[in-house]
Amino acid sequence: MNAPTAVFIVLAAVAVVSSLNVILRRNPVHSAIFLALTILCLAGEFVLLNAEFIAATEVIVYAGAIIVLFLFTMMLLDIRGGMRTRQFQNQFGLAAPIAVLLVALLGAAVGAINISGLPAAALSTLQAAQLGSVQNLGQELYSNFLLPFELASLVLTVGLIGAIGLAGHGAEDREEQVRIEEALEFDTKVRAKEGGHLEPEEELVPAGGHHA
């Protein structure tokens, strides 16, 4: 076993343990921290696989942006309420075997991979080093992959619109909400009656202020 492989296995072990922590922790803040750890491990693996630029981007985008976004969200919301209730779905008994079976199947498929059957390129160390360089990636991004690059900027724009449009309005919505909520609560009651026909005098009489 060579050195990179050994490092890879160590990082992999850390990544697996911390990813398990992401999905098993009660406190979402802890989960987020472990997600960050997992991502750092993965970035390390990327370096081992000659993808230095991607490794850096991964750290910046994930650890620097996405996980921070998660943490901000948790600050905005009351996460303690969520921690007091049960953490796992009722379907645990079904979900766990599904996960195990999927691991088995994917493992079988990966194990069955016939390396010799795949078209492969033997890279020299120099070529491998150049593969993930900023220069190489930049060249590709701005030539062959210009279109997805432009599209990606639009994706981010849409993300921006969404963030502002959905979360950017705070208390001013509250009053407007009261009106609509009452009307819709009423609608929900109609649904509960399973298609029972409304008498006209019932029409549009809101159920008086029992909303929070």
Partner: protein
């Protein structure tokens, strides 16, 4: 210039965004006209490209061919019809015009590039552009709980499905070393297919795209998201992204994985039967018309998928083949479904609820023309001749028979019989019941012209089916 229509839509989206920020509140209804203009111009550029030789652009990222033109036509028609049906509803519910239209434009842009993509990377980015915009559209009525919830469910499950899809794409890249669809096909053809990884890839991709087109058992988000979303957004979701996802399905499974065809044909056939049967059976039980239409749209995904199951790459245009049948059905489906949802939006615009069957009581008397249009859509969805839906179904059934899957055709015929039950229920409620309801219906020239277009299309695509069928067939020559 190959991507001119896409450029127009991009400019439109940006312009709408800008004007939304700049214009005073009372001038914003003018955005409707701008959106219409933009989509019509894009549509004109698009149709102009019909028949020009297929070419590849942007380093093989997108292709400009008849296939793209066909789907762009579909998307732009969808966009125009949604823009026409939206104002009445948006105004009544005090939803933001600018945001709605610009998100719509972004989603349409994503759809157009999805259909045009000839590379896994651009395909993935386009799909995501589309779905992210639609997540927001679903939650646009942010003051309504149901809209919030619809958006959340759609988003969480959509992101989950995207993760599965992109994992599948990574495997497709992994077994071929290529991201370009044509090159992938080349590698698959050249190397032995006897590879469990290929099967795994098929499974992952089928799940990922199956979610977007709402196949059972990946459909569960559909009724919830459709019911909760603002109705014009629902109408859009039920047609546009679905058609785009079918385009992606064709690009992935025919352009790229055509050589692996025997592996997935039966899989899709089984999924199609499951989808249409479950959706039709559950639709019978619905009392909310939006939800009923949601299940109906799932069932139609099942019908459309029959085309893919029956696809035989390389079949000449003189044969009744799966892919043109699929595309023709999408074309037909667009008009009848949008029409049906537009009527829901129309009925809802005048009153707060408007989603239960009871709200359609005696519509035949209260709004005769609207009721006739709705009858037309329902009958076409059922597949009653000579309306468009009948030919769509007939063509699909014949394609299934042609490819030796007669049982699939039978399943489709059974399902179409079951579906009559709930579609006709709407007609019965409209014509064969009375109401004391005196809530006036909303009047808007936009929505009336939209209904006119959709019902005329539903009628004429049936009565003069030939040119439209040729349109669909001409678009598949690339395969």
């Amino acid at each position: 210039m190959a991507v001119l229509p896409e450029v127009v839509v991009t400019v439109l989206a940006m312009l709408l965004l800008l004007l939304d920020a700049v214009l005073p509140e009372h001038r914003k209804s003018g955005l409707t006209w701008l959106a219409l203009l933009g989509f019509v111009v894009a549509g004109a550029f698009n149709l102009y490209q019909w028949g020009s030789p297929a070419q590849s652009a942007y380093g093989g990222m997108v292709g400009a061919d008849n296939f793209t033109v066909f789907f762009n036509t579909l998307f732009l028609a969808t966009a125009i019809l949604v823009v026409l049906m939206a104002p009445a509803y948006l105004r009544e519910r005090a939803l933001p015009f600018g945001e709605f239209y610009s998100l719509l434009s972004f989603a349409v842009l994503g759809m157009m590039f999805t259909a045009a993509s000839t590379d896994l990377i651009s395909l993935f980015v386009s799909i995501e552009l589309m779905v992210i915009a639609v997540y927001i559209l679903a939650g646009l009525a942010r003051r309504e709980k149901r809209s919030n919830e619809a958006s959340l469910k759609y988003f969480l499950l959509g992101a989950f499905a995207s993760a599965i899809l992109v994992y599948g794409m990574s495997w497709l890249y992994g077994i071929t070393g290529q991201t370009n669809l044509a090159k992938i096909a080349g590698v698959l053809k050249a190397t032995s297919l006897d590879n469990p990884l290929l099967l795994m890839t098929i499974a992952l991709l089928a799940v990922g795209v199956g979610f977007k087109v709402a196949l059972v058992p990946f459909h569960a988000w559909t009724p919830d998201a459709y019911e909760g979303a603002p109705t014009p957004a629902t109408a859009f979701m039920s047609v546009g992204p679905k058609a785009a996802a079918f385009a992606a399905l064709l690009r992935i499974f025919i352009s790229a994985m055509g050589p692996a065809q025997p592996d997935y044909s039966l899989l899709f056939a089984i999924l199609a039967v499951l989808t249409m049967t479950l959706a039709n059976v559950v639709a019978i039980q619905q009392n909310n018309i939006k939800r009923m239409l949601a299940y109906s749209s799932i069932a139609h995904s099942g019908y459309i998928l029959v085309g893919l199951a029956a696809a035989q790459p390389g079949a000449g245009s003189d044969q009744v083949a799966g892919i043109p049948a699929l595309m023709f059905y999408l074309f037909v489906y667009t008009f009848m479904t949008l029409g049906a949802f537009a009527i829901v939006a129309y009925v809802q615009a005048g009153q707060v609820t408007g989603e239960s069957f009871d709200d359609y009581r005696a519509l035949g008397r209260r709004a005769p023309m609207t009721a006739i249009a709705m009858t037309l859509f329902m009958l076409s969805l059922t597949g009653v001749p000579p309306l468009a839906g009948f030919f769509g179904k007939a063509y699909l059934i014949l394609a299934a028979v042609h490819s030796g899957m007669a049982w699939l055709a039978v399943a489709m015929a059974v399902n179409s019989a079951i579906s009559a039950y709930y579609y006709l229920r709407v007609v019965v409620v409209m014509y064969m019941s009375d109401t004391t309801e005196r809530v006036p219906l909303y009047r808007s020239p936009f929505i009336h012209s939209m209904l006119a277009v959709a019902s005329l299309a539903t009628f004429f695509v049936g009565v003069f089916a030939d040119p439209f069928l040729r349109f669909a067939q001409g678009a598949t020559l690339g395969f």
